[in-house]
C-alpha cells in the first residue's frame, strides 16, 4: 500500500469520471477486472440532492438554478484505505462500485484499475462528447453572400 494518497488532482479526475459514468458501466468494468475486496461501510449509499447554481449573465452573481439527485457513500478497505463516492442520479450499486474503485486507486491495484476501468470510461466519455460535437458541427451555418452588382 502506498503511504500517501495520490495528489488531489488525480483523485479529483477519477472521482469526476466515476460520477458521470453511465448506469452500470463502471461496475461492469470493475467486476471484469478483479474480484471485489472486503470492506466495511463508513456511510451506506444514500440518495440526496445538490443545489445547482448558475450565475446571472453567465459571469455575475450566483443564483440557485435547481437541484439534482446525487448518491453518495463511503467505505473502508480491510487495510484501512477510505473510498468515497458522490455520483449523479439515484444509483446505490454504482455508488458502491465507485467508492471501491476510489479506495483501490489508492493501493497497488491502481495501475490495473486505471487500465481496465478508468481509461475505458474516459474513452467512452470522449467518444460520446465527440459524437454530439460532430452532429452539432454538421448543423453549423456556412453563410455566403449572393453576388449583386452592375458589372
Amino acid at each position: 500500500m502506498k503511504d500517501t494518497v495520490d495528489p488531489p488532482h488525480a483523485r479529483k479526475a477519477w472521482m469526476s469520471l466515476l460520477a458521470k459514468a453511465p448506469e452500470g458501466r463502471a461496475a461492469a468494468l470493475f467486476d471484469a477486472a478483479m474480484t471485489r475486496p472486503d470492506f466495511t461501510w463508513l456511510r451506506r449509499p444514500e440518495i440526496g440532492s445538490v443545489m445547482v447554481r448558475g450565475r446571472a449573465g453567465g459571469t455575475g452573481a450566483p443564483f440557485n438554478l435547481g437541484e439534482m439527485t446525487v448518491t453518495r457513500c463511503a467505505l473502508t478497505l480491510s487495510e484501512g484505505v477510505v473510498g468515497h463516492a458522490y455520483i449523479q442520479g439515484r444509483r446505490k450499486a454504482d455508488a458502491e462500485a465507485a467508492a471501491l474503485i476510489d479506495a483501490l486507486m489508492q493501493t497497488e491495484a491502481a495501475d490495473r484499475l486505471r487500465a481496465d476501468v478508468l481509461d475505458p470510461l474516459a474513452q467512452d466519455a470522449k467518444a460520446r462528447r465527440a459524437e454530439r460535437a460532430a452532429r452539432a458541427a454538421a448543423t453549423r451555418v456556412d453563410f455566403f453572400t449572393m453576388v449583386r452588382g452592375d458589372d
Binding site: 488531489p8 483523485r11 479529483k12 472521482m15 469526476s16 460520477a19 458521470k20 444514500e46 440518495i47 440526496g48 440532492s49 445538490v50 443545489m51 445547482v52 447554481r53 448558475g54 450565475r55 446571472a56 449573465g57 453567465g58 459571469t59 455575475g60 452573481a61 450566483p62 443564483f63 440557485n64 438554478l65 435547481g66 437541484e67 439534482m68 439527485t69 446525487v70 453518495r72 463511503a74 468515497h84 458522490y86 455520483i87 449523479q88 442520479g89 439515484r90 462528447r129 465527440a130 459524437e131 454530439r132 460535437a133 460532430a134 452532429r135 452539432a136 458541427a137 454538421a138 448543423t139 453549423r140 451555418v141 453563410f143
Partner: protein, 362 residues
Amino acid sequence: MYVAVKGGERAIRNAHAWLAEERRGDPAVTELSVAQIREQLALAVNRVMAEGSLHDPDLAALAIKQARGDLIEAIFLIRAYRTTLPRFGVSAPIRTAAMACDRRISATFKDLPGGQVLGPTFDYTHRLVDFKLAAEGDAPRAPTGAADPGDVPHVMDFLNREGLIEEARPDDTPPPDLTREPLELPASRALRLQALARADEGFTLGLAYSTQRGYARNHPFVGELRIGAVAVEMEIPELGFAIEIGEITVTECETVNQFTGSKTEPPQFTRGYGLVFGQTERKAISMALVDRALRWEELGEDNVGAPAQDAEFVLYHADNIQATGFLEHIKLPHYVDFQSELELVRKLRRTAGADGMQEAAQ
C-alpha cells in the same frame, strides 16, 4: 352546527383503481416504458425537470407516466419527492462558457467565433404533421461534420470589449434559496432568477410576450442562445477539494436590450438572462425577457405599471404548483362554508323582501 362527513373511503379507493386502469389504457396496446418516455418524449421530461426543479431524467419520465402525461401533475410529484431528499450541498456555479454546445445561435451577430450552430431544432421545419412517424421505421441517423476543439466563447464578450453593454461582474454573494426561506419582497435578482427558472412555462411565456407587445417594452434581441452539457462541480467536505458530481444539459439565453440611459447609467445595451434545465429554449428566452423587465428599478427606468415589471405579481403567480394547489382546492368539499353562505343569502333576501313590502305599503 358541524356535521362530520364520512363514507368516501370506498369511493376514493375505487376511483384510484379506475385511475390505474385508465392510465394503462387498452391492454392490447404495448405498455409505455419509463426509458421510452425518457428517450422519446425528452422535451416533456426536460420541462418536468425544470419546473419540478430537480434534474433527474428517469424520475421525471416516471412522473410523466404516473401522471398520464399531465405535466403539471408530474411536476407536482417531482416537487413532493424533492422535499424527501437530504441536501448534500450546493454546487459551484456552472460554467456555461465551457458548455459542450449542441446548439448555439445569435440573432445579433452573423459571423462569430464558433459559428451559428442550429442543433436539433424545430426551427425551419414546416410544421406539417409527418405521417411517416405513424409507421415504425429505422432509427434515423444525423450527418456529422468536423468539430472545432475548445470552448465556444460567449457572444457578450465581443460587445463588452467596446464597453457598449453592461457587464455581469463576478460576485460571490451567497444567493437566497426559496426552497429554504419563504419568498419575501423586495426580491433580489438572484431570488427572482431562481423563481423564474422553475416558473410555469406558459405563464412566463405570456408575460414575456406582453413585454414584446408594449407592456414594458424593452426591445430585446437574442444575443445568444446555447444548449448543451455542462459539468456540475461541488466541494466535498470530507475530501477538502471539489470534484465533478455529474453533467447536466441546460439552456442559456442572453438578451441584448436597447437602453437609452438613465440618471445613473450611460446609454448602452442592457441584458436579460435565462437559464433552465434541459433543452427548454422557449422557457429560457421567456425567462430572459421577464428578468430584464423586472430589472427596471436597478436600471433607473420608469415603472409603467406593466404586469411584467411587478415583481410581486410575477413571483407570487409564476409557480404552477402553488397556483394549482390553491386553484384546485376549491373543488374539494366546502359543504360547511357553503352552508353558511347559503344562510346569509337567504337572510339578506328575507330582509330585502320585508323592506320591499314595507315600501310598497307606504
